[in-house]
Amino acid sequence: MSYKWNWGIFFQLSPDGTHTYLQLLLFGAGWTLATALLAWAIALSAGAFIGVIRTAPVPWLVRLGNAYVELFRNIPLLVQMFLWYFVLPEVMPQVIGDWLKQSANASFYNAVICLGLYTSARVAEQVKAGILSLRSGQRMAGLAMGLTLPQTYRYVLLPMAFRIILPPLSSEFLNIIKNSSVALTIGLIELTAAARSMSEFSFQVFEAFTGATLIYIVVNVVVVAGMRWLERRVAVPGFISMGPPAAAH
């Protein structure tokens, strides 16, 4: 092969003069994690809310929730990013539009909101599935004791639904970390963008992308381990599945 390998490139100074290439990659990873965590906060809160209203006994709320999910699921993430970053400022009144375009870190905020809402639709799917997997008797038992419907959701249905959907939710969290890379198209210098930039300046293409790949793998492993710990921590003793009640013997 005519490619010259140079693994030492990570410790050489990048063109900005103060940081090594390794540090640039780590900064990128930092932006990736910051974007992912903030977006996840949005995704969880909005997603839980939408998931709950999709199971409510109020037809127009259900339709609203369904429309929300369909909207965010049927448009590619890249297109959604462009809509937030390029189109939104143009259709806002002039003053707001200009402010949006000029703010520092515009790509970061756009990425967070776009990614957050995109993922919230998927979280809503999980939450709805989790609630519907519970025996209908659980809701009735809550109501029969005199709890109002919101109280029944809060104390009876949601605690179990969330435990049930922890595995698919942790997949969604991993997805949000991966999907943050799409924000490089609107100028966010997250990990993949940092790797690309490193490859362009140093010509050590494969080292750069290997570095980024390794960081993604490490993040993956940490998150998976964290999720397993969380699952064990909130596990309900004796609970196997939501079928006919399990009796311990």
């Binding site: 038992a141 109501l143 004791m145 709890l147 004796g238 609970f239 009640p245 009796a247």
Partner: protein
Amino acid sequence: MITISKVSKWYGTMQVLKNCSTEVAKGKVVVVCGPSGSGKSTLIKCVNGLEPFEEGTITVDGISVGDPNTNLPKLRARIGMVFQHFELFPHLSVMRNLSLAQVKVLGRDANAAAEKARKLLERVGLISHAEKFPGQLSGGQQQRVAIARALAMDPIAMLFDEPTSALDPEMINEVLDVMVALAKDGMTMIVVTHEMGFARKVANRVVFMDKGEIVEDAPTADFFGKPRSERAQMFLSKILQQ
């Protein structure tokens, strides 16, 4: 205390309750029996408004269940319900299952709720399992906890929807014993069940339903001695063969 008057209910075009009327006076125990699909579970769920109904009225202690102005959660807090599949909340310990509604619905202080819970657990013989979770208990134990949970609200009446149908045979009696004791203490009860031994022991009246209608409604002795309708006779003969 509980009056069901000319109640009819439809699921779409299918009529599942046809003009049902009956009464349960205070302190009395009424057993509702009948083949599957006769509407007995549906009827009992109408009494505390878990199922809506299209025609007729149901009143509990003078309050109309079907009236849109009625505060249903408040009414339900005064009626206890026990389900076929126990429906304990799996993520809460036995103690928390018993105190949750006391605190959140009745506004009782946490200590008072815990005290009450402990007394009830003693009454049903399960005080040693107070900190366990439902998944760690047998079916019979879960159902006794469920009865205690309903009693924790100091209800004026108790509804039982096939309380022993999901239990292994050797556990049925431990639950029925609790229910018999409850009846002897003077609780107003409506019990949907196939357990005719229980009916003979404590029921004041037996209501037999078939295909959505109340076919027979008679004092216990009369029902078992000389059932008037042919359907009730057939049902009894099949049941009592076991």
